[in-house]
Each structure stands twice: as structure tokens, then as C-alpha cells.
């Protein structure tokens, strides 16, 4: 196991151990632990997976298999702001594609990518449950609705400066 990340994040790994201790006796604990670990580290780097594999005594390949199966688990760190563009049906029929294209152009990254300065991650998501306001985007916890492409620049600028 590479020791560097363990050294740098001693407290986080101590916390991870606490999480594992809390959940390991539940039925089917792996997903529960991965969710918590991702909250803690922001993603699931291989060192974290190795640590969980050792603690639970299950093969690393099993953990890797689960972590890569689900789209919410991510192995790479994300930007400070994750922009989720709803591509649910209600938003799609109301022009979500144009909003996504505009964001892609404005930030200069494709959906699924993170900007080099780790400020933005752009994602296409499923229904956010706010179909009444379609098309909708979500930046971390903020929701913006009834959008047209020309709204995008102003919204992105608000986060750029922060």
C-alpha cells in the first residue's frame, strides 16, 4: 500500500476505520461504507479501496467491481463545484441539450470532465425532481430552473470568482 496518502490523511483514515467498525456487522455493509468513504475523501482512490479491502477481508477486485459499477462512485477527485445538468425526459424535451452544450462551451470541458483547475465538474444527470422548472441545473446544492442558454454565462461567473 502506498504510504504517502496514508501519512497525509491520518485523520481521515482514522475516521474511515471508525466508519468501517460501525457498519461492518450490518448485512451487506460494502455499499454503506463506500458511500461514507466517498463523503469523507471526495472520491474513492485506490488506496482507500485497499484499506477497506483489508479491513473487511474481501478481495480488492470485488471492491473495485462495485465502485466502478455505480455511476455515483468516482475514483477521481471532482471539482469544487459539480454542475449537474438534468437530462431527464421533462428537461430534455424543454431544451436541456442546448443548456448542456452552452455550459460545455462556457467552461471548456465535456460532460463527465473536470476543469484543470478543479473548479468545475460537468455532469449530465437524471431527473432532479424539479420538472416543473424544466430545464434545470444544479450546482452543488443550488438549483436553477427555467433556463435558456443565454442565462449560463451569468450563472457560471457567480461561481468563478468565489
Amino acid at each position: 500500500m502506498s504510504t504517502s496518502i496514508l501519512q497525509d490523511n491520518k485523520e481521515k483514515f482514522a475516521e474511515l476505520q471508525r466508519i468501517i467498525d460501525e457498519y461492518k456487522d450490518k448485512e451487506g455493509p460494502l455499499m454503506l461504507i463506500l458511500h461514507k468513504a466517498q463523503e469523507l475523501f471526495g472520491c474513492l482512490p485506490v488506496e482507500v479501496q485497499e484499506y477497506i479491502a483489508e479491513s473487511l477481508d474481501i478481495p480488492l477486485t470485488d471492491i473495485y467491481g462495485v465502485a466502478t459499477f455505480y455511476s455515483q462512485f468516482t475514483l477521481q477527485p471532482k471539482g469544487k463545484y459539480t454542475i449537474g445538468v438534468c437530462m431527464g425526459t421533462a428537461c430534455y424535451v424543454k431544451g436541456a441539450q442546448a443548456v448542456l452544450d452552452e455550459l460545455s462551451k462556457e467552461i471548456g470541458i465535456k460532460p463527465g470532465e473536470t476543469s484543470e483547475d478543479f473548479v468545475f465538474t460537468l455532469e449530465a444527470t437524471r431527473c432532479l425532481g424539479a420538472c416543473g422548472l424544466a430545464p434545470v441545473i444544479m450546482i452543488n446544492d443550488d438549483v436553477y430552473g427555467r433556463l435558456v442558454p443565454s442565462d449560463i454565462k451569468g450563472i457560471v461567473d457567480k461561481y468563478r470568482g468565489r
Partner: protein, 598 residues
């Protein structure tokens, strides 16, 4: 109990939350404090009222004043005028909630609610979902008490069977039968699970129930536990639903506290507990065997059935799995009797169905109607029709497993069987309305793109077949369609349907097949004439300046990122089609609406 002279209900559903109901709530709190009204007026945060399109929604009782699109700055007016002086702020009321003489309509006179029948949604927008006392005050946990104290498990199952309730998760399997199979299965340990994975990408019925009335699901699962002989329940809920997760967590804690979950419920020897399990963004996990694998902490891949979950489910034990809305129907059925439920709906589909109404429709939101209501009633009466009086083109039901229903079927009474007959399906309740600016080939491509993305890859027909279909659709929408493509799509579709392992693959071709069935000429226009009649498919689009409308102001020249536009000042401009990248920038800029898509 304290007495309040007014109740202010503020919608805390996801739709209204997104349009700012959180701030509205805070402002109400501080305004009430400012006027020393906290002991006279009660603020209640509820679940979705259904009319999310005009959110944030606030209803003030006893008058029943329905305020819509309430902004932060409107709150002080409502407080000082309405709550202090008793003068309703008419200009903030929802337009259809007042009579011409300005008297307030009761909610069931409002067009949007008139034809609705709220059973599964009975408490949504009525109670505070974070307070178990409010659920109990509306007959909550009464059905559980009745079952545990007065009925045997067999009687409970027979009652559900007699009601005719069918599963609301999509397939429409009779709920009572499933309970019976699970009850009869051999096993020392059994489970009751709730499918709250709500995979249809444009729908939020289950979410609204979980957010607006979580206890109804807990109560029903506990009843099911008693009926089938289980002592543990799991709710598999999407991690993308943070508010639902929070309210469920609160509800479970409160139910345990009140002795309605845990050991010896109602003093009987029946014990039952419920835990949450979070999904992690995989559509296929809505399929029952995949969902169970995911609860076990594994990759959510489906497996062949039989054995069915009723025999071999989570952790290899007999398991009952029902959908959120199915469960929400259970308590009222037990309290009002199976005959009552039988009296609602059509011959083979009893009760009501919740739909998430979206797309090109005025009243986007959540509606619940008796089975047998027609699409026309839902779209034109409840939904208020299509914006700008545009023409109805199709309604999509059943999400990625369903199909598009054209205008000629608007008067079909909706139930499980009639929708299947016209090439779509009930699905879980997504209902997306489309007008003539939506391209049916593109919609088919959209859904195939979704299924290709979400296919778990386990069986080749689904993994490879859907990809082949998507490639053909992409070619067609890019103007590279060939004669014979339609037939190829149909052939592939039929073979995937008959050979895929799970429901995802078996239904994936439906959106394509149904659009071919009803909108074949639109496919042909793309393939033969290289034309997209709806003006959606970018590659087939031309942006044109209409010479007779162009005043030669030059604004479009500045807007164009690739210098495709040229022309003398004050004379008509033209677009060089070989340069144009169809970004549409000029279209928005032209003050004379001279630029059009063609």
C-alpha cells in the same frame, strides 16, 4: 393541545424547494416573530401539493387561500394583510383558485384538482412529514393496529387480494398474490423490501410520497411484514433524493420511539424493523433481482428468474418487494375495505395512479387520477393544456420502457392493459407531453442513449443490440440515414425484446418501435429528404435569414462566432451555410425575428 387561529402550509417538496420555499419559510418565521404571532399562527412544512409549476406554493387555512409563486418579498404582505388584518392578498393567489367575484374556491373546485382523487397522495401537502403525530391524527398507524390486533396474516393477505391492487412499479403484478407467494415460501428468515429507486429519468411520484408522507410507507411495510412473516425491512432509495432520505430517517426514528417499529409492536409478539439502503446511480438496480444484489452490497446485476424473490430474494431468503406507491395504497385499503377500492378504476385496474406530468404542458406537477381517466382529461383539464396553444403531438408514458401515444389515442381510458395495447405501458407514472417542436426520432434516440448508458452489460442482446440500434438512430438524426434503416430497427428491436435477460433489455426497444408505429413519416423525412420536420436535429437544420423581414441592422453579424453572416447595412443579410455551425446565436439576437430554423 394548543389552538392556532390560522395554519400556514408551505410546500417543502423538491420542486418548491428548488424555487425557493426554504427562504419563504424562514421569512415567515421571522415575520411572525416580528408581529408576535407565533402562538396564534402555525407554520407547517408539507410535501408536494402537485402544482409544482407555480411554486413555491403556500396555502393559508381556514380560508384555504392558495398563494402561488410566493417570493420572499411577498411574505410580509401576506403576514400584515392576511394574517393580521384578515384581508386576503388577492393578487398573489393562484389564478384559478378564485371565483370571478373574488371569493375563494375550495381546492376541489380548482381545475387542476377537480378530476383528481388523492389516495396514495392523501397526506402529501396536508401534513408535516417530519411529525409522526400529524400522520397519526390523519388515521396513521390505525390500519397497522387493526391488522395486528384483529386480523390473521391470512386474512390480511386475502383482503389485499380481494381489493385487486396491482403493483405500481411498472409491471402491474397483483400485490396480494405476491404477498401470498412470499408468505407460503419456506424460510426461517424473510424480508420485506421497498423499491424506491425510481429510475424513470423524468418522474418523481415515489419521491413525492417519500418526502410528503414517509410514514405511510413504513406502516404498509410493517403490515406486509406481519402478513408474510418477516421481521426485517429494507427501503432501497436513490442517493440522489436527499430530502426523501432525510425525512425517511426521521420517520423511522420517530416510529421506533413510538413503539411502532421494533420489538413487540402494539404489545403483540410481532417485531419488525426497517433500514434504509442507498443506491448509487444505476438504473438497472430498479429491477428486482439487481436491487437485491445491490442491497447485499454487490454489483447490481440482474439474474435469471425463477427463482423469484418470493422464494429466493435478499441474502437468499424469501423476500417481498413492492413499489413505494403500491405500499402507500395499503393503509386506506385496510381501513376502507376491499369493496371501496374495487369501486374505483376500471375492470382490471383498480384504484388510482399517480403521474408526474411534465414537458410541454402548463400545469407541470404531480397528479393522481382514478384508473380509466383519459389522456385528454389529464392533459387538457387537469394539465391546463399545452403552452402557447401549440398542437399536441404525443405523450410519452413508461419512460425508457414505454412508448409515445399519438393524438388519435387521446381518448383511451388509461389503465395497465389499454396502454400496453396501444404500444406503450403504464410504467411507474412518468407522463411527458410533447408538441410539434419535439422530434420523435430524436426522442427515440434520447431513450436509447439512456438504455445503452444504463445497460449493465451482462447479456449480449442488450449490451450489443441496443448499441446497434442507437448507432442507426444517430445516423438518421445526423442526416446519414439509409433506406432499410427502419426495417433494421424493427428487426433488432424484436430480437432484443425476446432474448434479453431482464426487463431493461426486454423493454428498451419500445420507444423506438412505438415511434416508428405512429410517426413513420417523420423517420422517412429524416432518411429520404434529410429533413427534420420538428427542427430539432442539428445536422439537418438550416438557419436562414428571411430577406423580407431583415432590416439589415447587423446585430447577427456580431453574434456569429464563425463569421458566417455577411451583408450590407440596411439590406438583407445572408448566412453562408458551409460556414454556419448552427449555434443559434444569431437567432436570439435578431430583434426582428427574421432568422428562423428551417
Amino acid at each position: 393541545m394548543e389552538f392556532y387561529r390560522s395554519h400556514v402550509l408551505i410546500c417543502g417538496g423538491t420542486g418548491c424547494h428548488s424555487s425557493g420555499s426554504g427562504e419563504v419559510m424562514e421569512t415567515f418565521k421571522s415575520e411572525l416573530a416580528k408581529h408576535n404571532l407565533e402562538n396564534e399562527i402555525k407554520l407547517v412544512q408539507t410535501g408536494c401539493f402537485g402544482l409544482c409549476a407555480v411554486g413555491p406554493v403556500v396555502i393559508v387555512y381556514p380560508e384555504g387561500a392558495f398563494y402561488s409563486r410566493v417570493k420572499d418579498e411577498d411574505v410580509s404582505r401576506i403576514v400584515t394583510e392576511h394574517l393580521l388584518k384578515g384581508r386576503i392578498v388577492t393578487d398573489l393567489l393562484y389564478h384559478d383558485s378564485v371565483h370571478e367575484d373574488e371569493a375563494i374556491k375550495s381546492l376541489n373546485e380548482v381545475e387542476f384538482y377537480k378530476k383528481q382523487m388523492r389516495l396514495a397522495l392523501r397526506n402529501c401537502g396536508v401534513i408535516d412529514p417530519e411529525k409522526i403525530e400529524e400522520y397519526i391524527a390523519f388515521d396513521g398507524y390505525k390500519a397497522l393496529g387493526k391488522v395486528l390486533l384483529e386480523m390473521t396474516p391470512e386474512e390480511t393477505i386475502n383482503l389485499i387480494k380481494a381489493s385487486g391492487l396491482r403493483g405500481r412499479g411498472g409491471a402491474g403484478f397483483p400485490a396480494g398474490l405476491k404477498w401470498e407467494f412470499t408468505a407460503k415460501a419456506q424460510g426461517d428468515k424473510k424480508y420485506v423490501c421497498c423499491n424506491a429507486d425510481e429510475g424513470d429519468p423524468g418522474a418523481f411520484m415515489d419521491r413525492s410520497i417519500l418526502e410528503g408522507d414517509p410514514h405511510s410507507v413504513l406502516e404498509a411495510m410493517t403490515i406486509a411484514g406481519y402478513a408474510v412473516g418477516a421481521d426485517q425491512g429494507y427501503i432501497y432509495v436513490r442517493a440522489e433524493y436527499p430530502i426523501a432520505v432525510k425525512r425517511l430517517t426521521i420517520a423511522i426514528a420517530q416510529a421506533r420511539e413510538a413503539g411502532l417499529l421494533g420489538r413487540n409492536i402494539f404489545g403483540t409478539d410481532f417485531s419488525f424493523d426497517i433500514e434504509l439502503r442507498l443506491g448509487a446511480g444505476a438504473f438497472v438496480c430498479g429491477e428486482e433481482t439487481a436491487l437485491m444484489a445491490s442491497i447485499e452490497g454487490m454489483r447490481g446485476e440482474p439474474r435469471p428468474r425463477p427463482p423469484f424473490p418470493a422464494v429466493k430474494g435478499v441474502f437468499g431468503k424469501p423476500t417481498l418487494l413492492n413499489n413505494v406507491e403500491t405500499y402507500a395504497n395499503i393503509p386506506p385499503i385496510l381501513l376502507n375495505g376491499p369493496e371501496w377500492f374495487q369501486s374505483i378504476g376500471t375492470e382490471k385496474s383498480k384504484g388510482t395512479k399517480v403521474f408526474a406530468l411534465g414537458g410541454k404542458i402548463n400545469n407541470t406537477g404531480l397528479v393522481e387520477v382514478p384508473m380509466g381517466t383519459t389522456l385528454r382529461e389529464i392533459i387538457y383539464e387537469i394539465g391546463g393544456g399545452i403552452p402557447d396553444n401549440k398542437e399536441f403531438k404525443a405523450a410519452q408514458t413508461g419512460g425508457p420502457s414505454g412508448g409515445c401515444i399519438p393524438a388519435q389515442h387521446l381518448d383511451t381510458p388509461i389503465d395497465y392493459d389499454s396502454l400496453t395495447q396501444i404500444g406503450s405501458m403504464m410504467g411507474s407514472g412518468g407522463l411527458i407531453v410533447m408538441d410539434n417542436e419535439n422530434c420523435m426520432v430524436d426522442i427515440a434516440r434520447f431513450f436509447l442513449d439512456f438504455t445503452v448508458d444504463e445497460s449493465c452489460g451482462k447479456c449480449p442482446p442488450c449490451r450489443i443490440g441496443t448499441k446497434r440500434m442507437l448507432e442507426i438512430l444517430e445516423r438518421i438524426t445526423q442526416g446519414k440515414g439509409e433506406e432499410g434503416d427502419i426495417e433494421k430497427l424493427q428487426e433488432l428491436g424484436r430480437s432484443i425484446k425476446s432474448s434479453a435477460l431482464c426487463g431493461l433489455g426486454q423493454t428498451a426497444p419500445n420507444p423506438v418501435l412505438s415511434t416508428i408505429q405512429y410517426f413513420r413519416e417523420e423517420y422517412e423525412a429524416h432518411i429520404r429528404d434529410k429533413r427534420c420536420p420538428a427542427g430539432v436535429c442539428q445536422a439537418l437544420l438550416q438557419i436562414i435569414i428571411q430577406a423580407e423581414l431583415c432590416k439589415g441592422c447587423g446585430l447577427c453579424i456580431k453574434a456569429c462566432p464563425v463569421d458566417a453572416i455577411s451583408g450590407e447595412r440596411r439590406s438583407p443579410h445572408v448566412i453562408d451555410q458551409s460556414k454556419c455551425i448552427k449555434c443559434g446565436a444569431c437567432l436570439e439576437k435578431c430583434p426582428f425575428k427574421a432568422i428562423v430554423k428551417g
